[in-house]
């Protein structure tokens, strides 16, 4: 059914649907236009999103609103230190049947949904955090030797609280790499804050109207995701994405090969410990495809790649102590890399 819908869907349909979802979300979320767009881009690109923001900036509300707008099943897990993997994936419990027999039955955890919010994921132990890895990458959960498939679409949004770092467990690089984008929620400006106050403290709550019917929502979302994959990427664009990713890798890294063809930036060599993985290039192209569809095109351009570069690459770059001492952010590195690769014109 989804294949039929993908063929009949047009570029204009995608853009129209995207804008409708965006509009529904903004009924509840004031501001954060770019964050919402990146969130939806990651959803339709088939990835997961790591949301970083200070408390009270609407992270949970954003994810919850997205679920409502898409009319998809939604679960929320508050990550704490004592949270166990089984609390996420589910576990086998002894249940009594109608005939009185007792047997182990798998009880699905909160991971079994379409949209999963992992709130403050860095407060759980690495063991629990890694419980999400299989679900995010393989769309399946293995419990006691039995693998359970997750129903598509499956979209994980994890939030990170950049303050109160005591008692937290920074996400391992492998798990960070599995998030397509990292979205940053900044403080709202004065106008946005005023609108937040008036809309959330009044008697009326904003009602979210689902864009899809509940029965067809998963298929519609899958059809849109399939359309994104059909967007054409010229070889030159793939080369450009590859060069961007290679340019984030420091020249003196022992993992870098064929360095003669890479664009090297002094800032990268000085501040970066490890550059982006190949998943970064995939994220660039997929994100660019969504941007191209939103622009009414069936092909991606460099501008599309540049627009998603920070979201796709920043969290994949490991900085060294020199960067920390100099106050250099990964965002600066990515922006510098874009300029270097553009200037190189290889």
């Amino acid at each position: 059914m989804s294949e039929v819908q993908a063929e009949t869907l047009t570029v204009a349909d995608f853009a129209r649907t995207f804008r409708r979802i965006q509009a529904e979300i903004h009924k509840m979320i004031i501001g954060h236009e770019q964050a919402v767009e990146e969130l939806l881009s990651a959803l339709f690109a088939g990835g997961h999103v790591l949301i970083e923001g200070v408390p009270g900036t609407g992270k949970t509300t954003l994810v919850k609103t997205l679920g409502l707008a898409l009319n998809l099943s939604f679960n929320r897990i508050q990550f704490t230190v004592d949270l166990m993997p089984a609390d996420i994936t589910g576990t086998r419990v002894i249940l009594s049947g109608e005939d009185g027999r007792r047997e182990f039955t798998f009880q699905p955890g909160p991971a079994f949904c379409h949209i999963l919010l992992g709130d403050e994921i860095n407060r759980a132990t690495p063991k629990t955090q890694s419980a999400l890895l299989e679900a995010m990458a393989e769309l399946q959960v293995t419990v006691s030797g039995t693998t359970y498939r997750l129903k598509p679409p499956y979209f994980v949004m994890a939030t990170l609280n950049p303050i109160e770092m005591e008692g937290t467990y920074p996400l391992p690089e492998a798990q960070l790499d599995r998030f397509l984008f990292k979205v940053r929620l900044n403080y709202p400006d004065e106008g946005e804050l005023t609108r937040i106050i008036s809309s959330t403290t009044g008697p009326d709550e904003a009602g979210i109207e689902p864009v899809f019917h509940a029965a067809e929502a998963p298929e519609r979302v899958e059809a849109l995701k399939k359309l994104v994959r059909q967007v054409i990427a010229a070889p030159a664009m793939e080369i450009y994405a590859a060069r961007l990713v290679r340019a984030t890798q420091p020249q003196n890294s022992r993992f870098v090969t064929d360095e003669a063809k890479a664009v090297h930036d002094e800032m990268v060599n000085r501040y970066v410990m490890f550059g982006s993985s190949p998943r970064g290039a995939q994220a660039l192209i997929l994100g660019a495809k969504v941007r191209a569809l939103l622009d009414g095109r069936a092909n991606i351009a460099r501008e599309d790649i540049d627009q998603v570069a920070v979201s796709a690459l920043a969290h994949r770059i490991m900085l060294n102590y020199a960067a920390l001492s100099d106050g250099i952010d990964a965002t600066h590195i990515v922006e510098r890399v874009i300029k270097s690769v553009r200037a190189a014109k290889v």
Binding site: Q230, I232, R297, A298, N299, A301, R302
Partner: protein
């Protein structure tokens, strides 16, 4: 009525897009070729005009250095222009990328051109073709590149203006020299006005120098004084190189300016010696062994003349030395005699010889050849070897021949001849008649000489 399939329609539209990209490519390549050709022409014309103008305006060495620099710069410019033109050439892919940038098509054309040869197209391929073809007006060749003529035409125009300005310079600089060189081949200059420098072996400046032997000796002495290290300098490879470079540049300038025939005319340079006392005294004081030897020989010869009381001086080569009279030391008589000698050389020669014999060596300011009237070098044995060996020397003259003025026709200034009458106490010199020694005195004389 024929119905085309979806794929055929897409291919047809793809053909239209590629055709339009082809026209863009054609225009870009045309501009690239124009760039290379026009810039090359501009550089060649500008350098040629500059060299042509330099041939008239600057001295040979500056012309040589400037011309070489211009040629080097021009060659580099031509290479650069051709290289730039080569880099400007556009493949279909590059033409599509340029059209994408200029028409803000966001990679549509590049994607179409890049993926056109393939068969396995995305389901959105037809959408891309339709979308791109719908913007065909935006990437028309005239919109992507408005110019049909490269901007390199402006440098070419500038070079042509430069070339046009160079020709009037040649006209202005050419006319006076033609007038000056037309009618004068003989030139007489004073030795004191000469600035001497060593010349290269085998150097032929088109000038023949003639003078009497005394003047030639003075010339030699002057050369030795003004250029003490003349022999070394003549052998100096750097000087030779500079002189050759100057000559080469001069020849090149002559060829460029068309003045080669005039400059090759031989100029007969006749040296005159004003012979002031200062120079004579300097010559006497000059520590030149060869000169002293000539003096001794001349003195001995004069004593022999007194003893023999004979006048038998060898004739001089008047054909090569029209002003062959010796200097009389500041009186300017040599010049007068020279004028007379030109009219009747044989007569003047004998008269001069007599005059020398009569007034002769009693005069104290006569110079080393005074009273002799001939070159001791040619009178007493073989000529002494030249100080300059086989290399010779070159005379650089600042003066230019002119066809106007009171002293034209190649005559140096000659002061009027003045004869001072003898006082009452003076008697003219007369030769003493030869007489036989008396027999009584012969033993006495013989004893004195034996002692």
């Amino acid at each position: 009525m024929s119905f085309l399939s979806q794929d055929q329609r897409v291919d047809e539209k793809l053909g239209q897009i590629l055709g339009q990209v082809g026209s863009v490519r054609l225009r870009l390549n045309s501009l690239a070729i124009q760039h290379a050709v026009l810039y090359t022409l501009a550089i060649v014309i500008a350098c040629g005009a500059s060299i042509f103008a330099g041939a008239y305006l600057v001295s040979p060495l500056i012309f040589l250095a400037g011309g070489a620099a211009l040629i080097v710069v021009g060659c580099a410019g031509v290479v650069s222009a051709v290289r730039a033109g080569w880099q400007m050439r556009a493949s279909a892919m590059r033409a599509a990328a340029i059209a994408d940038d200029r028409a803000e098509l966001k990679g549509r054309l590049s994607t179409v051109v890049a993926l056109a040869p393939g068969d396995n197209h995305s389901p959105l391929w037809s959408y891309l073709i339709e979308d791109t073809l719908g913007r065909r007006d935006e990437f028309a060749a005239a919109k992507i590149e408005r110019r049909r003529i490269s901007r390199a035409v402006y440098p070419l125009a500038g070079a042509l203006v430069l070339a046009a300005a160079a020709f009037p310079i040649s006209k202005i600089k050419h006319a006076p020299q033609v007038a000056l060189n037309e009618d004068q081949e003989d030139l007489t200059v004073d030795l004191d006005d000469l600035h001497l420098r060593p010349a290269d072996p085998g150097d032929d400046s088109g000038m023949q120098v003639t003078a009497d032997p005394a003047t030639m000796r003075r010339l030699q002495d002057k050369l030795a004084r003004e250029n003490p290290a003349g022999d070394e300098a003549a052998g100096n490879s750097l000087n030779q190189l500079v002189n050759r470079a100057r000559d080469m540049a001069g020849n090149l300038q002559s060829k460029l300016t068309g003045q080669q025939a005039n400059s090759n005319r031989r100029l007969n340079l006749r040296l005159a010696d004003a012979g002031d006392n200062r120079d004579q005294n300097e010559i006497r004081r000059a520590p030149d062994a060869q000169k002293n030897r000539h003096r001794e020989i001349a003195g001995q010869f004069k004593q022999d003349l007194e003893k023999s009381n004979e006048i038998d001086l060898p004739p001089e080569d008047d054909s090569r030395q029209p002003n062959s009279q010796p200097s009389t030391g500041g009186t300017g008589e040599a010049g007068v005699e020279s004028d007379a000698g030109q009219e009747n050389p044989a007569k003047d020669q004998s008269a001069t010889d007599r005059s020398i014999q009569q007034s002769g060596e009693n005069s104290s300011n006569g110079g080393e050849a005074h009273g002799i009237g001939a070159d001791p070098d040619s009178l007493f044995g073989a000529p002494a070897p030249s100080k300059l060996g086989n290399e010779g020397f070159e005379i650089s003259i600042e003066a230019r021949p002119v066809d106007h003025g009171a002293k034209g026709a190649g005559r140096a200034y000659v002061p009027p001849k003045v004869r001072t009458p003898l006082s009452v106490d003076q008697e003219p010199d007369e030769p003493v008649a030869r007489a036989a020694v008396p027999a009584d005195d012969r033993s006495t004389i013989k004893r004195v000489f034996e002692r």
